[in-house]
Symmetry: C2
Subunit: 412 residues, 2 copies
């Protein structure tokens, strides 16, 4: 494969990303496409036309995944793709790059007359972000069989709208193929994605070959102190929920740093009640998000954070409660696919490194189905899930070329 001369159409790649970036763009620059929304459907429709234009055979399945096939025959397919839905006010690359990039990669392979032994299927996964329904990575959970199609159809969003009803407005025509892959149907899966962190940029590298997707524990936390008058309550008679929660937040950071090994911990939701400027906080509601690339490390992180919760409250007479929101096991990637990505990077004359994905991706579920891995490109300033999410055009192009070379080897 290394002998192929792959030329990505960078203009087309950037133009497609630009079209998608305008669908759901808010006044402050962020892009909001909730799963199965009008904006999501518009972006999907654009990609469907692009697939048709690229000569792919387009189908769609029971949960709304869109698939475009390059090549034919009865061999197990090589799949690649990503998602079009976004977090609220998100960026333009998280998801779209892995779809637009896949189509551009396939087109580049077509231009050099590459004829795959195995068909290559570009997939638009439905509902990867968890921002509308109770869970994310919905499309890949259906394909891998991680979640039953019926259970997915029964998901309900915050306004009481079921996934099934939302899907009916999505605009697919014709019959829906089964979502769940048959045994032996998929040969391998690879996803091109922005890193969403700052490691590649910090080390001036072009490509990350992902060796594992970190697992996740999210816990809902409550700190219950006593609201009281800010002026009339002496410091030593307070049960300040904010101070207990602040102590905990700093301790969580300390624990994650001490454990190392790719463990990260974040308190992103943190609400203080009643919130009056002259009232001592009586209650804090928070969510902590813990991640680690290995199950044992994730459990150790979780155990120590739970212990710290009690300690942070006790010292101030603030009671604490916690409940598990979700636990997702870490997903190791396939060594053969990782090595294929590394060979592809070398053939494209770009520097790569093996790394962990701290973020969850559809690849996590695809890895339960078939040999899988991911290709990361650098995120400028390490920014993601925000309007500033960006990657240099040359880096996007290099990522596409590495994807094309990886697909070519996997499909041969």
């Amino acid at each position: 494969m290394s002998s192929l001369t792959i030329q990505i159409d960078r203009t087309r790649l950037l133009a497609d990303l630009e079209v998608l970036a305008e669908i759901g763009r808010g006044s402050e620059g962020g892009i909001t496409r909730r799963a199965l929304s009008k904006e999501d459907a518009a972006a999907r429709n654009y990609m469907k036309q692009r697939m048709v234009g690229a000569g792919l055979t387009v189908t769609h399945d029971e949960v709304g995944n869109l698939r475009g096939r390059f090549g034919s025959g009865e061999h197990a397919v090589v799949m690649t793709g990503s998602h079009l839905d976004t977090v609220p006010a998100g960026g333009r690359l998280d998801g779209p790059l892995g779809i637009v990039g896949a189509i551009c990669a396939v087109e580049a392979l077509g231009r050099v007359g590459f004829s795959p032994k195995r068909p290559v299927e570009v997939v638009v996964f439905v509902g990867e972000e968890g921002s509308r329904f109770r869970r994310g990575t919905i499309g890949s959970a259906a394909i891998s069989g991680h979640v039953e199609v019926e259970a997915i159809h029964a998901l309900v969003d915050g306004e009481g709208i079921s996934f099934r009803d939302a899907l009916s407005t999505y605009g697919d025509e014709g019959p829906r193929r089964p979502a769940r892959a048959r045994k032996g149907e998929v040969h391998a899966f690879v996803e091109l994605h922005v890193e969403q962190g700052g490691l590649l940029e910090a080390e001036a590298l072009d490509i990350g070959a992902v060796t594992a997707i970190a697992g996740l524990v999210q816990r809902q936390l409550s700190f219950l102190g006593e609201a009281n008058h800010a002026g009339a309550t002496p410091m030593h008679l307070r049960h300040d929920a904010l101070l207990a929660a602040s102590t905990f937040a700093l301790e969580v950071e300390r624990i994650a740093r001490e454990l190392g090994g790719g463990a990260v911990a974040t308190i992103g939701k943190f609400e203080v009640f009643p919130g009056g400027k002259n009232i001592i906080p009586g209650r804090v509601e928070a969510i902590c998000d813990l991640r680690a690339p290995a199950a044992a490390l994730l459990s150790a992180l979780d155990d120590r954070v739970c212990a710290a919760l009690g300690t942070a409250g006790q010292a101030r007479g603030v009671s604490t409660r916690e409940s598990l929101l979700q636990r997702v096991e870490p997903g190791p990637m396939d060594e053969r696919v990782i090595a294929t990505i590394e060979r592809a990077a070398a053939a494209a004359h770009v520097k790569s490194k093996r790394m962990i994905s701290g973020a969850i991706h559809d690849t996590l579920h695809m890895a339960e189905l078939c040999p899988s891995a991911m290709i990361f490109v650098p995120s400028t300033g390490g920014r993601s899930h925000c309007p500033e999410e960006e990657t240099a055009p040359e880096a996007l192009e290099r990522g596409c070329e590495v994807l094309a070379r990886t697909l070519a080897e996997l499909a041969s």
Copy 2:
């Protein structure tokens, strides 16, 4: 005065408080009477009828203060009173006790045939809580001349309604007397109030003789870090605004405890953005509320807190901003009135202690006009500004008796 046999009508005292507690009562038990609202007017109307029933001569002034006079003559008046407006979902004693208690005290004096040399005036101050207009202690600010009547009339609430317009719906009949007291018009002022803290209860004391009302500095604070993906951003590449703000919150507590001398510091408003469970906080908006009973101590507290703000941000690459919302100077009480309260407590055979008021009251402005002090009764559990605000019936009665004896001495 100590020879008087004062008998407070406890049944009447509790019944009046109960009537007021039902005006503006919400479904969760809290009482909401915003200044000059329908509920505030209803409570005020009830007190007006009570004043008339108690034989007081009722007048009202340009800003809506209601006044009921006991006794007559040209001598400078002894004033006492408090407010009827509440914080949102507040308690039943903060304010009403100082009005109902004053009427019951005057009635008790009347029953024993006490004839004051100086008239005693019971005042219902308008708008003490700052929860509707831009400022609180409005009525006392007008009487003391701290704020011009025109400036008060021009105050606007959050919905754009002016104080002047709101006042026109308040239901006063007949001419309005000038609000601002003439020179020499007021001989002394005393206010009966719940402590709103837990010191009296902790020391099993009945009465607090307030020696100073703490001054206040409130600052708006911003912590500006960088929102980013919770999974993909390594711990060492983060600029987490929540962690910077947490460090600051704990440091503020430490500074207040270290300074002592009645200094207290609270961060009651604390909002974290964007607030997604899987997004590193990029921004925190908070308000810190600093109080101290002496100007030099308040300045020292403020200086050290401002210095801590910069330090908390720098360590994490989080920038910080602050702006002054308000500074109110501490108000020392009058030694002669304080001593009068102590004598009254002794005559009533109840234990008292000198203490600071951490909360601001109308007495702060009255002290600019005439010798003033406050009588505190214990707050059960130190709770206030909440539905749980409570004081034992015997303690309420004892507070009224001490007020009656204080008024009797001041008016003689």
